[in-house]
């Protein structure tokens, strides 16, 4: 997933490469939208991802995971452009806020599974978009795109254990955001109120 090859220019290979890459456009655009939270920025990010992918197409090995390769390019561009550089493997993983939430072990903070189906799609998207970027991107890769931990780790350039811990915290936070929303909007009542 390291972009080191010389720029390429074999026309026939180029056309089939572009076809294969373009087949992932909708997926990539949705990912860009979740990352940037802005349609214009998402379009720019996707366009630049494809330009860079074409330029470095020789570093892509045919038959391997094109979607993962494109996501890796897009994700790196996103951090370079919008966040002022790629993240170090940082403090978020030890974020005490979530550690605290983990230790609460409060049964009333756990929604029934079917409550989620009563929450509108845009509220779920909004909750995902509220996650810190490092957590949001792992949810995108694993939950939305169905990447294995190994592929997600390659895209993000981190060990598999980091993918697992970020994913765990991201899901805990999502659970809390959605449950808070469900309570605020009256979809569920807190168990104390109901008791």
């Amino acid at each position: 997933m390291v972009l080191v090859a010389e720029p390429a220019a074999d026309t026939n290979r180029g056309d089939s490469f572009v076809e294969e890459a373009i087949a992932h456009l909708d997926t990539l655009y949705r990912g860009a939208l979740r990352l940037t939270r802005d349609p214009a920025r998402a379009e720019d990010l996707v366009q630049d991802t494809y330009v860079r992918a074409l330029r470095y197409q020789n570093s892509y090995q045919a038959g391997t995971n094109m979607k993962a390769w494109l996501f890796a390019i897009m994700r790196n561009l996103f951090w370079d452009r919008f966040k002022g550089g790629r993240p170090e493997d940082v403090s978020l993983d030890g974020d005490s806020q979530f550690a605290l939430y983990d230790t609460l072990k409060d049964p009333s903070a756990m929604p029934e599974a079917d409550v989620l189906d009563r929450i509108a799609a845009e509220e779920v998207v909004k909750a995902v978009e509220q996650l810190p970027e490092l957590h949001r991107e792992v949810v995108l890769l694993v939950d939305v795109e169905g990447f294995s931990y190994k592929d997600a780790a390659e895209v993000l350039g981190v060990p598999i254990g980091t993918v697992m811990s970020r994913l765990h915290r991201a899901r805990r936070q999502l659970q809390k955001l959605l449950y808070d929303y469900a309570q605020e909007s009256g979809i569920v009542h807190s168990k104390e109120e109901g008791a």
Binding site: D15, V18, A21, I22, L25, D26, L28, Y29, R30, L33, R34, P39, E43, V46, Q47, Y50, V51, L54, M110, P111, E112, A113, D114, L116, D117, I119, A121, E122, V124, V125, V128, V139, L140, V142, D143, V144, G146, S148, Y149, M164, L167, H168, R171, L174, Q175, L178
Partner: protein, 72 residues
């Protein structure tokens, strides 16, 4: 397998990242433990709902044509 072991592996279970042996151990624990089974259902449902909700919409047609012009 006790509840702590099960909860530690629940994300991997949901994501099909366990070995066959571990998978079987978690499955047997869930069958006997309603609280862990509840949490498992919640995690499965959450993953499904997040996918369904975030996987909607297509790229704007203008972007698609612009890319075709740039890339070919």
């Amino acid at each position: 397998m006790n509840c702590t072991d099960c909860l530690e592996r629940l994300d991997q279970y949901v994501d099909r990242e366990l070995t066959d042996e571990e998978l079987d151990q978690v499955r047997r624990h869930l069958a006997d433990c309603p609280p862990c089974e509840d949490l498992f259902r919640l995690k499965m449902n959450m993953r499904r709902v997040v996918k369904v909700c975030c996987d909607q919409g297509v790229a704007p047609e203008a972007l698609r044509s612009r890319l075709r012009q740039i890339l070919y």
